[in-house]
Symmetry: C2
Subunit: 221 residues, 2 copies
């Protein structure tokens, strides 16, 4: 059986939120606790690396979520945080790494399983959903064209990677001082194929206080 | 002074909503009533054309919102509804036409004014907002590339057009049986320039029952 580790990236500042988004209460539990709970209870997850801005006072998390094997402090950019999380993994023991946003608390067990299964098969996988809005390509304040949205997808997390592929992708990006908006883009730069699996519209990213209300409404369903 | 008419397109079925989305209650008022109120009270709007699926029992709307000059029944596709609304405009009297989704109840006076002003200047204008998610171009279940999201925008309404430009765009589309995902795309097909103005993140589209909760949270701010 493949050993699967999850890196939970929760080192953001939450500028638009007015406080750390992952610490906001969502139906009585913090956003980050909900994320940790989802991965902690998932039968295929062996361990969790938690990447935080401030790694003091994390005893609570470790006691509640026993699969947390390391808590490490993140960097300025998301990618720095992912790298820090990766370096905290037990070397040569992990087959598959999932990287998940600490502010996507509604990730389902089904989605986690789906990403793991596809990653074992394809090496690198992202969950995607379709775009509902019309999307335009612009130059300054002029429209160049209407994008063919049937070919575009919004990317979610968890993104899944075979350990050595993610290692190579992170090393290349670091050597070239390249920063991507997600980890899959680093694998794409290796010219390795990245697959997609269906994401989940409920798997939203908490960015504003209103997103909390929205997430609570989704939980009530 | 330019005469500005608004076409409110509210002929959708609301399949994902389980009932017509525009009739859902949002903080005590229906979504559509909120939309009509915003346009009815805007000082630059001369009249409103309301496009509905079912045009029976619309006396209430006409009594409450005195700028409604016509209620007309929409077609199967959004573009059919826009065309029906356009044909209900008083000919040769309107300078600028705004087209607005009947399910975007949080449109602000400021945004309406901004679109009108830019349309008078540029002929065709859409409000846009940036994309927060990573966007990938896909082929089947494989990723082709990560899109440069700095060049992409999500399109909102109201979209604004000079009357004769919209007329030409709708006629060409109709003659060629072309359906676009928005009206601006029909103008783009005329090789006429479409401008952008900053949209508003609060100007959300109500698509699911959870969007109502989200909109109510936005209203509380």
């Amino acid at each position: 059986m493949k050993r699967v580790s999850a890196i939970i990236v929760a080192a953001g500042e939450g500028r638009r939120f007015g406080g750390a988004k992952q610490d906001a209460l969502l139906a009585g539990q913090t956003v980050l606790e909900r994320v940790l709970d989802r991965f902690n209870t998932h039968p295929e997850i062996a361990d969790i690396i938690l990447v935080l801005k401030d790694i003091n006072h994390t005893q609570d998390y470790r006691e509640k979520f026993l699969k947390i094997s390391a808590v490490t402090s993140g960097g300025i950019e998301r990618q720095d945080s992912v790298l820090a999380g990766f370096q905290a993994l037990p070397p040569d023991k992990v087959d598959i790494v999932l990287i998940h946003d600490g502010v996507r608390p509604l990730v389902s067990n089904t989605l986690i399983s789906r990403v793991i299964k596809a990653t074992a098969d394809k090496g690198a996988v992202v969950p995607v959903i379709s775009l509902e809005d019309t999307i335009k390509q612009v130059h300054g304040d002029k429209i160049l064209s209407t994008a063919n949205r049937t070919q575009l997808r919004r990317v979610q997390t968890p993104q899944g990677f075979k350990y050595h592929l993610l290692q190579a992708a992170l090393e290349k990006a670091q050597a070239e001082r390249y920063y991507g908006t997600d980890e899959a883009s680093l694998v794409e730069r290796l010219k390795k194929e990245v697959g997609t699996v269906p994401g989940d519209r409920r798997n939203i990213k908490i960015t504003t206080p209103e997103d909390i209300k929205y997430a609570e409404a989704l939980l009530e369903d």
